[in-house]
Symmetry: C3
C-alpha cells in the first residue's frame, strides 16, 4: 500500500509544502527512515536528525526550519499527525473473531455483549459481564462478579480479580493483575495478622495499562484509575490509591497505599510515592523521584526526597562541585589562618 | 447485616465508652466513614481526621483524645481490633468449592488433600502434593515435585516451578513466580555460560506474597522465605536469599543473590540490596534505600548508599542547605580576605 | 552418584593438587559446603571463607593461597570449572517429552519442529513456527505469526505477542511478556491518543530472560535483544530499545524508549535509563543508577544522575562528611571573624 504525500496531508490535517505527488510507502522514526518513508520531528531536541535523514517527507511543527528541498507537512501537533498516518498504513484489526472459544471456561450467569470475543483458555467467573466488542485474549482470568465495558482488549494471562470494574475502551496488557489484595497487616501477638481486603478496583474509560503491572484492591472502598489515565509496565498501585484523569505513569513507578494523584499528572519511571499523599493536578514527578510529601498543583518535583525540580537541580550541581569546593574552602581558610598568625606576630 | 457497638466491643476486645446501643452498618477508613460506620485511628499522625469524621464510632488507642460525644472503643492495638470488626462484617469465604475442575490437568502420582480445590485450567506436574483445604486458582501452574501444605491460596496464573516447597496457610497472589532460575553465569570464551540452577525455594508457613513477584531458586541449596514473612507486589528475591520470620517487604524492593534478611525486619518499597549481605533482626530499611553493606540488628538505615537513618537525614538536610550555604561561606571568605588585605595595608 | 576428584579435574579442566582419590558427592557454595563436597572461590572477596570451610576440595584461581591440606583444583576461571562440575552432577534434562499435549490449542498453519514439546494449556496462534527441540511450558501463549528457533525453553505463562521473533537456545522464564505495546501517546484535544505500536521484538540466539520481565514492541521497526544478552527478572525494556551482545542486566532495571545499550555492558539492579541514550560497549552501570545521558565505551557510571563512578564515590564521600564539615567551617570562620574584630580593635 502506498499513498501520495497529498493524501497523507489531507488525512493528517498537515499543511503541505513541497511536492504533494511524492509516493510514500510507510512511516518510520527519523533515525531509521529511508527513501519513500515519511517521518516527523515534534521536539527541537531531535531537529539535528533532519540534516541527515533519508526520508522522503517529514512532518514538522509550524515554526521548525525544514531541511533543504524535502517536502514537509506542517502541523500544530506533528506527533498526532504522525499517529494518523501510521494508522492509515496499519489499520487497526481485532485480535480475535467474535464468539467464545471452545476451550474457554465461562461461569454461571455471565452476560456477554454483542461481538464480544473470548479466546482460548480464558476463564470467566460467575456473574461477570463482558461488554459489546470486548476481546479477552488467551489465558485471561476473570474472578467472580467482574464487569468489563465495551470495546476493551484484555491481553493474555491478565488477571482481573473478583468484583473488579472496568470501563469502556480499556486496554490491559499481558500479565497485569488488577484487584490483588492490598498489603495490610496488623502486628499482634508477635506476628502479622492479615487485614481483610474487601474493597475493589475501578478502572474507568479509556485507560491503558501496560504489562505485568499490579493494581491492588482497596482495603475498604475502592482503588480507582480515572478516565484516560495511561500506566506503563511493571507499575505498583497500592490499595486505595486514586490516579487522576489523563495522568501518565511511566514504567516501574510505585504508589504506596492511599496515594491520590491528580489529573494530567506526568510521573517518570521508577518514581516512588509514600502513602497518604496528594499530588495536585498538572504536577510532574521526575524519574526515580522519592516523593515523601504532597505535591502542589502544577509543580515539577524530582530527586529523593523529592523537592521542586529547580531546587533539586541546584543541589545536584552543588553536590557535583562539592569535593573540589571543599578543597578550595579549606585552602582559603588555611591561608587566612596563617595570615592571621602572621599578623598576630607582626602587629 | 448490622451490629450494635456493644457487640463489636465484645468481639474486638475493645473497651466501650459511650452508647453501646449504636447500630453499626460496617467499617470504613476514617477519611471515608459516614453515619452508621465504625472507623479507627492507630497513629497520632491521622488523629486530625477525628475532628471532621462523620463516623458513628471510632476505635482509638487508650491514650488518644476522643472527639466530642462520639462513642469510642478503646484498644491496645486499634488496627487489630478494626481487623476483627472488618472480618465480622465480611466473613472469609473460599474462592473455589472443593474438588478438581474438569479442565485442570493433573500429573501422575499427585497427592490431593481433603477439601483441596483445583480451579479451571490449573496444571499440576507429576508427583506433586497439595495439602488439605488448599485452593489453586485458575491458570496456576505447578511444576513436577511441588509440595504445598494445608489451607493455602495460590491465585490465578501463579507459577510454582519444579521442586518448590510451600508450607501451610500461605497466600500467593496472581502472576507471581516462585522457583525461576537464579541469575548466574560464568563469563568464558567471550560469552556467558549458564550456571545450572539446581537448588530450590522453600516458602514456610503463614507467608503471604503479592502479585507479579519473582523468587528465584537457589543455585545449590535453597532460597528460603521464613514463617510469617509478608512480601508485597513486584519484588525480586534472587537465588539463595533468606527472608526472616515476620519480616515485611514493600513493593518493588529487590534482593541480590545470597542476601540474608533477619527476623522482624521492615523493608520499604523500591529498596535494593547488594548480594551476600546480612540484615540483622529487627532492622528497618527505608524506601528506595540502596543497601551495600550489612545492617546490624535493630538499626534503621536509609538513603543510597544506605547508612543509619539519622545520619542520612542530617546529610540530606545539609545537601538541601548546600547551595545557599556555599554562597554564604564564599561571602564570609571574601570579606575576611578583603579585611585581611586592608589590615595588611594598614598594619 | 559420586566422582573422584581426579575425574572432576579431568572434566572441568582444573589442575589437581593433592589427593585425586578423594570421593566427591556433590558441589556446594563455600558457606554451605560440608564433607564430601567440592566448592570454589573465584573472587578474593570470598577467600576468607577458606579458613573455615568444611568442604573436601576447592577450585581456586591459580594465584590464590590454598587452605592447609585441602585438595585443590587450580583453574583460570574457577566459576566456569565449577559450572562444569555442577553440570556433571546434575545433567540437564528436558521439562517436557516431545509432542503436543492434548489440551494445547494450536492455530492454523503452524510449523512444528522435530522434537518440539508443547505443554498443557499452551496456546499457539496462527502461522507460528516452533523450532526443533523447543519446549513451550504450561500456559505459554504465542500470538499470531510468532517465530521461535531451535532448542528454546519458554516457561509457564510466558506471553509472546504477535510477530515476535525468537532465535535459537533462548530461555524465557515464567510470566515474562515480550511484545506488549510501547508506551506512546500523543496528547491532543485534552487527552492522550494511542500511537499504534506496529513494530515488533527480535530476541537473538542464546539470550536468557528472567521471570515477569516486560519487553515492549517497537512503535515502528523493532526492539532487539542481541545474541548472548542475559536479562534478569522484572526488567522493563521499552519500545525500540537495543540491548547489545553479551550484555547482562540485573533485576528491576528499566530502559526508556529507544535506548541503545552496547555489547558486553553490565547493568546493576534497579538502574534506570532515560530514553534515546547510547551506552557504549564494555560500559558498566551501577545498581540504582539514574542514567540521563549517553555513556562512553568502557566507562563505569553510578549514582543518580549517573556520572563516572570515581566522581560519584568522591561526591558521596563528600556528602557523608558534609554535616560535620559544615560545622567545622563555620567554627573556623567564626574564629577568623572574631580575631579580625580583635585585631581591628587592637591594631
Amino acid at each position: 500500500m502506498t499513498r501520495t504525500l497529498r493524501d497523507l496531508a489531507a488525512l493528517s490535517g498537515g499543511e503541505l509544502s513541497g511536492d504533494g505527488g511524492v509516493i510514500i510507502t510507510g512511516p518510520a522514526k527519523i533515525e531509521d527512515a529511508g527513501p519513500g518513508q515519511i517521518t516527523f520531528v515534534a521536539n527541537s531536541k531531535y531537529a539535528h536528525f533532519l540534516a541527515s535523514t533519508r526520508a522522503s517527507a517529514v512532518i514538522l511543527p509550524r515554526d521548525m526550519e525544514a531541511p533543504g528541498s524535502m517536502p514537509v507537512l506542517r502541523a500544530d501537533n506533528p506527533y498526532f499527525s504522525f499517529l494518523l498516518i501510521v494508522r492509515a498504513f496499519f489499520p487497526e484489526k481485532p485480535f480475535l473473531a467474535p464468539g467464545i472459544h471452545p476451550t474457554a471456561v465461562v461461569g454461571d450467569g455471565v452476560r456477554m455483549g454483542d461481538g464480544a470475543a473470548v479466546g482460548p483458555r480464558v476463564v470467566i467467573g460467575n456473574r461477570c459481564s463482558v461488554g459489546d466488542g470486548t476481546q479477552l485474549l488467551a489465558g485471561a482470568v476473570l474472578g467472580d462478579d467482574v464487569t468489563i465495558g465495551k470495546n476493551c482488549v484484555i491481553h493474555a494471562n491478565v488477571s482481573l480479580r473478583e468484583r473488579v470494574v472496568v470501563g469502556d475502551r480499556v486496554i490491559i496488557h499481558d500479565g497485569t493483575v488488577v484487584g490483588s489484595d492490598g498489603f495490610g497487616f496488623a502486628f499482634e501477638g508477635g506476628r502479622y495478622r492479615k487485614i481483610p481486603q474487601v474493597g475493589t478496583v475501578v478502572i474507568e474509560d479509556d485507560v491503558e495499562i501496560g504489562a505485568n503491572t499490579a493494581i491492588d484492591r482497596a482495603t475498604l472502598g475502592e482503588t480507582r484509575i480515572r478516565a484516560g489515565a495511561k500506566l506503563d509496565n511493571l507499575i505498583q498501585i497500592a490499595h486505595n490509591c486514586v490516579v487522576g484523569e489523563h495522568t501518565a505513569i511511566a514504567a516501574q513507578a510505585g504508589l504506596s497505599g492511599s496515594t491520590v494523584i491528580g489529573r494530567g499528572v506526568r510521573i517518570g519511571g521508577q518514581a516512588g510515592f509514600a502513602g497518604h499523599l496528594q499530588v495536585g493536578d498538572g504536577a510532574a514527578v521526575g524519574a526515580q523521584a522519592g516523593v515523601d510529601k504532597s505535591v502542589p498543583e502544577g509543580i515539577m518535583v524530582s530527586g529523593a526526597p523529592a523537592r521542586p525540580h529547580r531546587e533539586e537541580m541546584r543541589a545536584a550541581a552543588a553536590v557535583r562541585q562539592l569535593p573540589n569546593w571543599m578543597k578550595e574552602i579549606r585552602r582559603h581558610i588555611r591561608q587566612l589562618q596563617s595570615k592571621e598568625k602572621e599578623s598576630e606576630s607582626t602587629c
